[in-house]
Symmetry: C2
Subunit: 335 residues, 2 copies
């Protein structure tokens, strides 16, 4: 049995995602808005009312529904995953000294570092509170998985900070970091959806693989879009990763595979305190010469294929129509 | 039946506490030491190997034992409570810009703010991981209580930050803040001990009251010791709260009850950027004139009595010998 259909349901999916987003928003507003003190809950409310795509809770809800589990049953866990994701954003923004996120001032910029630090802590606390509202026999397994995810996210962030100070980071190390920082949370979203729908261990394994591969693909794609996307589509500066001297998969691969001359040129530009648009075009040309962009595109495609493969396995027990549409939505995103 | 005995078991208790401390330390070392990356786990190991009294896990273990529950059964939860407490210390130290704690450099001082922020997050994650290792039918209730505690600790810290900016904080507001910041965690320790020992809801209520009253008494006593203790005993500067312009119960009460002249004098000193030892003696004299020290001592005594009263109720179902000795240990501490 193979339930993957070649559907034309992109409009259908976007309606569904909009509906999910509204439900999660209502659930969170009812939880956060009545609380005091304001100095804690105002920044939390601000964070959770940003213009996020709510991809993570969507992944949990789509997975639960794929196994015919009701949305209501999975809403608290889905909301908890969104709270946890936002905790990482608030604390990462402090550490990265980022002034804006999704076009708005970051919490530490709008308030101050102490308030941002504390409201991040509050988001973790609310995430657990929300998760534990889940009425499921498997709540203990869900909570353990959720906690494992939180640990890996912290480890991934620690690696990210370590890598900033090193100029010899290997591609495999980078992928380990992305696995912990991004893919782990996405694979938690799918696994928790499956656990709440009471599916078996083998399916949980496939769901893990699906979320994980999608997460790595998503992050590598992010690196690619920064340098290949149309500037107006992506909504942020072209080459902003390069401007911020950030390590991306493309860069690491180029440094590993380039000739001495090519590597020297790239390093010379990355060492400049202010990297200009012309520099970015130069770096992009060298990346192209080395084949780093093409290689990175192939790597992302490999991870997308791995996610597709996992979905094929999942389809023997679940209706994966919408999960497949979701994967395609991510695969084809332009920003 | 009343199990409170007038025992001479202080040596006995201190042996027990030393044994608890060693067990908790071994449990945590086995958990933390093998982990990577070092940039996350080294500061966590450093934090957890400080010279803390381990009062919180002791309270959980003493409570569990009072109901004849084995120590082994309660060790993970007790260790989780210590991890959670240390998370609050690491993040509070960042917010308060404190350079030292228990005679050692704070994490953000020894490493940097980012590492301290992240290792605090890691401590929360480890706290949940450890808690969820508890093999108990009541693990869901325990986890919910633990999470409620985490939320209240965040709310208490938010109030503390708010109060720093206000000069009209009322005594009741201060007690609410202390309740959330300190007493809540101690009442969690006793309640979780009781839950793991499978005691009934009425006893959990008494355990809550015991931990709560002890926590408030403990904090008010802290305020008192800062200004009344022998300098060599307390191991920190005499009047350090005043030097740091901190709001204490004594100060708030004095500002509420003092005459205009007395209040004016106190405010004049608190507004000085550098408060000298002579200033502290002046403030102490005014506090004494107003009766603020005496009143605060009575308030602490009231909370200790309330804890004693709760213990009397608990004694109908449990052997409270050691809990009583523990209460006396806190009551009679000189530092």
């Amino acid at each position: 049995m193979n339930n993957i259909k070649n559907t034309e349901n992109s409009i259908d999916l976007s309606d569904k995602l909009a509906d999910y987003k509204k439900r999660i928003q209502n659930y969170l507003s009812a939880k956060i808005n009545p609380r005091r003190p304001f100095s804690l809950y105002d920044p939390i409310h601000y964070t959770m009312s940003g213009d996020g795509k709510r991809l993570r809770p969507a992944l949990t809800l789509l997975t639960a529904e794929a196994y015919a589990c009701s949305i209501e049953h999975a809403i608290p866990a889905a909301a908890a995953l969104e709270l946890l994701h936002n905790f990482t954003l608030v604390h990462d923004d402090i550490m990265d000294r980022d002034d804006t996120r999704r076009g708005r001032a970051t919490v530490h910029n709008k308030w101050d570092v102490n308030i941002a630090l504390l409201s991040g802590d509050g988001l973790v606390a609310l995430a657990y509170e929300t998760l534990l509202e889940t009425a499921s026999e498997r709540i203990l397994a869900v909570s353990k998985l959720f906690t494992q995810g939180l640990i890996e996210v912290c480890e991934g962030q620690a690696l990210d900070i370590e890598f900033e100070k090193r100029d010899d980071v290997l591609a495999d190390e980078y992928l380990e970091m992305v696995g912990k920082k991004t893919a782990c949370l996405l694979s938690m979203c799918t696994q928790i959806g499956g656990l709440l729908a009471n599916t078996d261990a083998i399916n949980i394994q496939h769901l893990k693989q699906f979320g994980w591969s999608l997460g790595i693909a998503f992050q590598i794609q992010d690196d690619l879009l920064d340098i290949t996307a149309d500037q107006h589509t992506i909504g942020k500066d072209f080459g902003s990763d390069i401007k911020q001297h950030k390590k991306t998969y493309i860069l690491i691969h180029a440094l590993e595979k380039g000739t001495d001359t090519q590597v020297k040129k790239i390093r010379a530009i990355y060492e400049k305190p202010n990297i200009e648009n012309d520099d970015i075009l130069t770096v992009k040309d060298i990346f192209t010469e080395i084949g780093a962009i093409e290689h990175t595109r192939e790597l992302a495609a490999d991870y997308f294929s791995s996610a597709k493969e996992a979905l094929r396995e999942i389809s023997t027990k679940a209706d994966v129509t919408y999960l497949d549409a979701f994967l395609n939505l991510v695969l084809n995103r332009k920003a």
